[in-house]
């Protein structure tokens, strides 16, 4: 089984882990965004709370949650290892460097965008996820009004600002990450790569827009 360790410790294998976990985290984003969009039904959070309760109580979702955290940790740790290694590959920096001439700024800033996302994630989990865990532990999760929590958090303009920053970081991170994952998997052909690239851009902008609308709509009492 020596070949497995060899493969995943090579620079290509490490990137493969980034690509697979990245795409997996994107599937989570789709579920998360779809479920949260239930607030736009504007029914006082009835449907949204039912969805949130399902996610908090379904045993299958509990297992997937563990897999999700493993995926996230792998993505973050691998990113850190790769970035530290990459930083060693150019000990003397250029005096003049014209990055914008040959690449997009967000493709060169995945580490910074990812770090911003991680900080946002800690804030986000402390807002909602930790509370849910406590309720699950106490066995009082059924009938919990998650919607009301959203209303409270997004009433604070600082929180809205932090969430918008998080969502913008997410959008740019995805704009590079989506198409980059396919390239790393070796999927690049003139037949479909233009589609993957434009789909990735539309997806990144759309999902960030929907996420951004949630705190904004709730802050201005459009959703209540």
């Amino acid at each position: 089984m020596n070949w497995i360790t060899k493969m995943f410790s090579s620079s290509l294998g490490q990137k493969l882990i980034m690509a697979i976990t990245g795409l997996f985290l994107i599937t989570f984003l789709i579920v998360h965004c779809t479920l949260n969009s239930l607030i736009f039904l504007n029914d006082g959070g009835v449907t949204f709370n039912a969805g949130a309760e399902f996610m908090a109580t379904n045993p299958l979702i509990r297992i997937v949650e563990v897999v999700l955290f493993i995926g996230l940790i792998l993505h973050v740790v691998k990113a850190l290892v790769i970035t530290l290694n990459n930083n060693k590959s150019r000990p003397v920096k250029y005096a003049a460097y014209d990055g914008k001439a040959n690449s997009k700024w967000y493709s060169r800033s995945m580490g910074i965008l990812g770090s911003l996302l991680l900080i946002f994630l800690v804030i986000h989990l402390s807002h909602f996820w930790i509370g849910t865990k406590v309720l699950q532990y106490n066995g009082t999760i059924v009938g919990h009004n998650t919607f009301h929590e959203l209303v409270e958090v997004f009433h604070n303009p600082i929180n809205v600002f932090v969430y918008l920053l998080g969502v913008i970081s997410l959008g740019y991170h995805l704009m590079h990450g989506f198409q980059s994952a396919f390239q790393t998997l070796g999927i690049n052909h003139k037949k479909y790569t233009p589609f993957i690239k434009s789909f990735g851009n539309v997806f990144s902008i759309l999902i960030s827009f929907i996420f951004a609308m949630m705190p904004i709509a709730m802050h201005f009492d459009i959703i209540k």
């Binding site: 250029y94 005096a95 003049a96 070796g186 790569t193």
Partner: protein, 255 residues
């Protein structure tokens, strides 16, 4: 002559691999717009030699017609300067304006240590090529060309990859100084042809292992290499390298 220019250069001067380098200002006067960038350096070096105060600036060059891959100047923040699809020797002074300030640095990578001034040691690329090994072919008389049928598309892709001159601009351009574009071109040119088939798996495994051992960074798909490559080697080669590597690890008896 009318139309000639004055150019302000900031050139990286470094005595040897161990000493500290720094940017030094030079003013080059009466530069013809039809000169190549290297010829402008020849004029400056001629002056430096005649003045006798300063050593001439060391830089790599050989064919001066864009096919040998020797020249390697990082000009105003870009390998081979501002134009697309050309090497430094094919860059002409008409691409600049009178009184322009031009910063010239060597390739920067842990794997390409500076020898002197603008000359770097790129033998890491040679070791990667060597690690790929030979291909098994019959020697003797050339066989009939049609004995080995090759689809036109594959031949085209292989030749496009083989256009790589190994100059190292991909490494110089990449924010991670990754050598993926170079290695992917060298793997692709043989992986696409029947002649490359017997050693297909060992070649990619060995070349990737050597690439990692040389201290190049990993690819983050920014596309800077493709944009700066003087031979316009495509990123599709990097995707092919990824595929070839996974295939060799997962489905071959090697590794």
């Amino acid at each position: 002559m009318s139309g000639n220019m004055n150019i302000n250069l900031k050139v990286w001067r470094q005595k040897n691999g161990k000493s500290q380098g720094k940017l030094v200002d030079y003013k080059v006067e009466n530069v013809s717009p039809d000169m190549s960038f290297l010829e402008m350096f020849d004029v400056l070096n001629d002056r430096l030699i005649n003045e006798g105060k300063d050593e001439p600036i060391a830089f790599d060059h050989d064919c001066r017609e864009g096919i040998c891959g020797s020249c390697s100047m990082y000009i105003n923040g870009r390998p081979h300067g501002p134009n697309q699809g050309v090497t430094t020797c094919q860059l002409h002074m008409r691409s600049f304006k009178d009184n322009d300030t031009i910063v010239v640095e060597p390739w920067r990578s842990a794997a390409f240590p500076v020898i002197k001034d603008l000359a770097t040691n790129r033998s890491a690329f040679d070791r990667i090529i060597a690690s790929g090994g030979f291909i098994s072919i019959n020697t003797g008389n050339a066989q009939d060309a049609n004995n080995l049928p090759i689809p036109k598309g594959d031949a085209d892709d292989s030749f496009a990859a083989a256009a790589c001159i190994g100059c190292g601009a991909c490494v110089a351009a990449c924010k991670n100084s990754s050598a993926m574009l170079f290695v992917s071109a060298k793997v692709s040119q043989l992986a696409l042809l029947p002649q490359g088939a017997p050693e297909r798996a060992t070649r990619v495994l060995n070349m990737v292992a050597q690439m990692d051992a040389e201290g190049f960074g990993s690819c983050t798909n920014t596309g800077a290499c493709e944009a700066e490559c003087p031979k316009q080697i495509s990123l599709t080669n990097i995707a092919r390298l990824n595929r070839e590597y996974y295939k060799a690890q997962l489905f071959s008896n090697e590794g």
